[in-house]
Symmetry: C2
Subunit: 345 residues, 2 copies
DNA sequence: TAAAAACACTCAAACGTTTGCGTAGAATAT
DNA sequence: ATATTCTACGCAAACGTTTGAGTGTTTTTA
């Protein structure tokens, strides 16, 4: 026997009072006497009343829902981020509407449209790789739906975002290796089309210069992120006249390809060649040969901050009138994390 | 200048026709003339009209939204599943409302309540480890909100679910190793409190018996999934009078702990001891020492099927009256997948 | 003891859309 | 020429809730 959910109206009818009184009683409005208030709540409990959120959303013009658009849910970085977003949204009484763009601009556009129709209160977006025009973001401003971008930020003005500063991490990484005694440090970077590649290289160069060492361009080689190209990159580095004793890799996949190749070449990963990587795979620490250190980008923290900012924005909006005056630009510093020592317990 | 979204009413006013006509025109209702229909659509386009989904949901009592409750979004298995769920939901014009239980029964309960209030049309759930009572699931039946469980199925009757059959995979795994010439095959299993542990052991035993080999209980040891305990389990197996030449591990983490320990013991992973694992980490294939084969559980497929079933259910409901007569019980067969050969290209 | 204030409610509109029913006028059939 | 069927639209209710603006009572204040 399936029953329709009970409404405020039914409660009112049974108690012979008006719907408005029931509504107010449920919200502890002061103008309702304690006796009726108690009666209403009692009956509501007994009948298993629960407010119809769609009706409330509709009438208030607020859904307490935030839309999240990510490139790829199955990627470790984003799945950590979404986990954080959900957690903080839950804590602050919001629900999340989720969708993935699969890195396609067209789908991203459609999703934004859909989210708008669903009347999400705000949006959290990490933009698709292929996105090259940005009107669909601007459009939302006209409807007063705030967006907070994170990790992948579009190159447009007047936006809120939280991103990760790669330079700091890069500098730390190089410093760490220098301090460990390495003097020839290689880098297997990503393709130059990615903004991140540039930042990482910059960090590398700055660290070298700060340590009064000259920057040798031949020690920084880029690859297209495939295994094959990584192997080629490593070969290039190893053939360098100043053969590096340590290498900074663009991400964990590159790292894995590299050590596989290195081991095939009978190179001792612990003594001959050490690695520092940019973390994107939580699993790396479980491994037999982990990099000596990783630059952590804190996806959980980024997701959390982005969600918090958005919700702050939403709460503020109800109070003040319109027109945002300031834009949040939060930088999460990346940080070098030494791998856990393998202590035999 | 932020503007409120334009409504059907405004269009009606401008065109001097009634709201109902506008609504029908936009839906291509036959009772509206082609000229007015065209005019309406033209103006709607110009004004950037888009339907207020909250109003529609409210009035139709249907949100075209499905709730998804998972234990942990950042786990590889679930993030693959959610990715599939989102994809199929998107294809079939549904949106997903996402939340994670963090494996806590209490939170799971609250989330179900919240989802119900949000009037999701249906629910996809993978139940929390700690969940031991199940009334909160039954409750939804009374409201005619269908649930499809997946991967982690509660032990109750009359439910829809899609799960993975572990036995087949286990049998295949053992057969594979036998065929490779191994005669003493060990198993590092999970704790007996997990249903999966039982299934896997069953598969192991069946495979042995089918091959006319006797089952040696001392070759199956369980562990609590920690690194420490895994090491102990491996030690136990290695000390066995019939020292195994191959081992089936409960999951990829156990596998990683095992090879780490084995390598410390100077055991050659390729020649002395081979591993088959139950896949839960996509990354494993990138590794230097991958298991010779993995039992794949197809999280993407499971998620997809679960979503498809739910949406089928929802579409069917609109037609027929009430009362479900049959329950979907879909078993996705796990399957042994040989690791990619490491071909030097 | 009359006027003011406080209390405890009720009324009704509003949010945007859908949809069953009603009804002019035009076209068709008899 | 009248009756009938279309055609193309309008009316109004309904979905469940919130909320500003009343409205009778009772209590307080001067």
């Amino acid at each position: 026997m399936t029953s329709k959910p009970v409404t405020i109206k039914q409660i009112a009818e049974i108690l012979k009072i008006s719907v408005s009184s029931v509504s107010r009683a449920l919200h502890d409005h002061p103008s309702i006497g304690l006796t009726t208030r108690a009666k209403v709540k009692k009956l509501a409990g007994e009948l298993n009343y629960d407010p119809n959120q769609t009706a409330i959303s509709f009438q208030k013009g607020k859904t307490y829902t935030i839309g999240v658009i990510l490139p790829e849910l199955s990627e470790a970085f984003f799945s950590a981020a979404i986990s954080a977003i959900e957690d903080t949204a839950y804590k602050r009484n919001y629900t999340i509407l989720l969708a993935q763009s699969h890195d396609e601009q067209e789908k991203e556009k459609q999703l934004i449209e859909k989210m708008k129709n669903h009347r999400v209160d705000g949006l959290l977006i990490s933009v698709a790789k292929t996105t090259s025009s940005f009107e669909h973001f601007d459009m939302l401003k006209r409807y007063n739906i705030p967006i907070v971008f994170f990790d992948r930020i579009p190159p447009i003005k007047n936006i809120h975002y939280v991103a990760c500063n790669m330079e700091t991490g890069s500098i730390e990484a190089v410093n760490y290796l220098l301090q460990k005694g390495h003097r020839s440090i290689g880098m297997i970077n990503g393709p130059s089309t990615l903004a991140a590649s540039g930042e990482r290289k910059e960090g590398y160069i700055k660290a070298m210069i700060k340590n009064r060492l000259k920057f040798d361009p031949s020690l920084v080689v880029s690859c297209d992120l495939t295994e094959q190209d990584t192997q080629a990159a490593l070969d290039t580095l190893l053939a360098n006249k100043r053969r590096p004793t340590a290498i900074v890799t663009f991400n964990d996949y590159i790292y894995l390809y590299s050590i596989k190749h290195a081991r095939n070449l009978k190179i001792n990963i612990e003594s001959e060649l050490q690695f520092v990587s940019y973390a994107n795979l939580p699993i790396i620490n479980y491994m037999d040969y982990a990099p000596v250190a990783s630059v952590e980008q804190f996806p959980y923290l980024q997701g959390q901050k982005a969600a918090d900012i958005l919700i702050d924005l939403l709460n503020a909006k109800s109070g003040s009138p319109d027109e945002v005056q300031a834009y949040y630009k939060v930088i999460v510093e990346s940080q070098l994390v030494e791998s856990k020592k393998k202590v035999a317990k």
